[in-house]
Symmetry: C2
Amino acid sequence: MVKLSDVAALAGVSPAAVSRVLSGDTTLRVSEGTRQRVMAAAQQLDYVPNHAARSLRTSRTSTIALVVPDVTSAVFAELARGAEDEAGARGLAIVLGRAERLHDDRDWLRRLVGEGRIDGVILQLPDGTPPADLESLVVQDTPIVVINSVDDGPLSTIVLDDAAGIRLAMDHLRRLGHTDIGFIGGLLGSATGARREAAFRAAMAEAGLSPEEAWMTRLGYAGTDGRAAAVRLLESATLPTALVVANLNAALGVLAEIHDRDLRVPGDISIVAMHDVWYADATWPPITTVRMPLSELGAAAVVALADSGSGVIHTVLDSPAPQLVVRRSTAAPRAGG
Amino acid sequence: MVKLSDVAALAGVSPAAVSRVLSGDTTLRVSEGTRQRVMAAAQQLDYVPNHAARSLRTSRTSTIALVVPDVTSAVFAELARGAEDEAGARGLAIVLGRAERLHDDRDWLRRLVGEGRIDGVILQLPDGTPPADLESLVVQDTPIVVINSVDDGPLSTIVLDDAAGIRLAMDHLRRLGHTDIGFIGGLLGSATGARREAAFRAAMAEAGLSPEEAWMTRLGYAGTDGRAAAVRLLESATLPTALVVANLNAALGVLAEIHDRDLRVPGDISIVAMHDVWYADATWPPITTVRMPLSELGAAAVVALADSGSGVIHTVLDSPAPQLVVRRSTAAPRAGG
DNA sequence: TTGACGTGATAAATCGATTTACCATAGGGT
DNA sequence: ACCCTATGGTAAATCGATTTATCACGTCAA
């Protein structure tokens, strides 16, 4: 590996000069000729600064950790994509971690931070993690951004505009003429779940409707959770004509269960789900969704970390605004429904 | 941050002694008492070695890069999970990269390696990447393992046992009585696609059947590719009674298109797909799949890198063996079919 | 002639852990 | 008394980039 002193030798200057030229030190006074020679030498030798050395000296690592509950959810994947792009553009690397580690190996994050390996952490907690667990994560001096979870507390947070998303879904159903609307939500105690449910209730109230509690579940966002919710909901004496599902993954489960009972979508029940990923368009019928700015959330988290120093922030990411993607799982309620 | 010399001071020994005790240097002779004091001091101060310093001195980074084409595929996600677990167990960190970068920013990998930031690379190329592109990736001295793609060449490779997987799917269909079987494959020119198609043809031949070329497509693994393949295939004058789909994501697309034409699965057509991820169980009907050891593949790649030095290897991961997961998308062919 | 000042650099310390080469001291054998 | 060896460590160089403090040299003014 070619190093700083090699470049210095070739350019006929000191290592100090090379370092300062290449890093754009403005307090350095240098003649244009020397600058050119340094640049040329670096180019010619294909010089790349050694990361460990730089990091040791500056105690900055240009690396952030992305900790997520479930790599297998496409919702996470969108997030990761946004984070990865933004990080790439800023010359930051992203190290991946699964949130389970936080429990299996409580020292894991501490160690990562202690080793001085990362400058900051983007953390998405498993839904339903008690807020108290959050506080135990406050590690000395290392900036943490909690995303898509709580929206206050001692750590910085960025959340999606869940309320706007739900409102969009509800407007769509209302415009189609639905009044008997159920809600399949996140886990009881999950922050996003609470926000989405509150938004649902608000939208119902605004429409002069009162939600039917038998049509409301809080079992979680996974496909199996959605299926379990559908099982429970479809036991009711009467059925809703439409469902708002708080997560697309859960909606797949709901759909499967509905098929299993030989009900038709949207003939018997319309479905609209939060989050738009590729398989919303590959189910039968394709699912009407609300596209939330997930990749932008990932990017925003990186930005927040990179620009941090401004202390703790609490942001609602409301731009780009949630967007309704109408597919074939929603239609007007069955006549006489 | 507490450092080595702090521990040394507390234990009353030299930094050298502490380093050698903590890293288990066997050539060091040290009294039991001293060893205890060092251990106790390290524990008491909650000492964690600085990664940059260690890395600078040893020029090893305990970090590997995982480069994948598409974060949004659950197939990748399984892979990442396996890699992450194995890496975690070995104290390695994983930095995430998207394969697109290799094209957008051709220096990206070079820079990562040049900075001395990673010890090795696990690389899954986008399907259809010409093998020539591979060779341009050979970076000086940095071990690369190419997974789930080519199975020879100048770089180490690990691939799934595609043939065994396809064979399992075919056996299942044959036992149900199918003879008119179509194949929805990967991209023409993709290594996995070629292996799976060859295995399909071999299985057909073995059963004394000759494949109907109109029932074979090579459009890719994504959901939309599957749908496009189904569109083409369903135009045929006669239809197969069963389909082997080389990727579950594509199978979702196939299923959607079949529904769209009011055909029944498995009534009119049975479907079996490669790769078993959660949403195989959340479609309608749930899809019969072949579970390939994806997370094990990720783990194996990490092991290969960690233990490398043995030079270039070419491995077929045949254990655990592929496993048939029977769901409701397969049944005996329609009578008179 | 002296001093002051601007210009264009560089020397050397520093970040923290690792590792090679070396050194005291005590005990044993002849 | 003398050498030899084993025991239990330590001193100091090293990895490569950054940064602070300093310096040599001209030039211009008084």
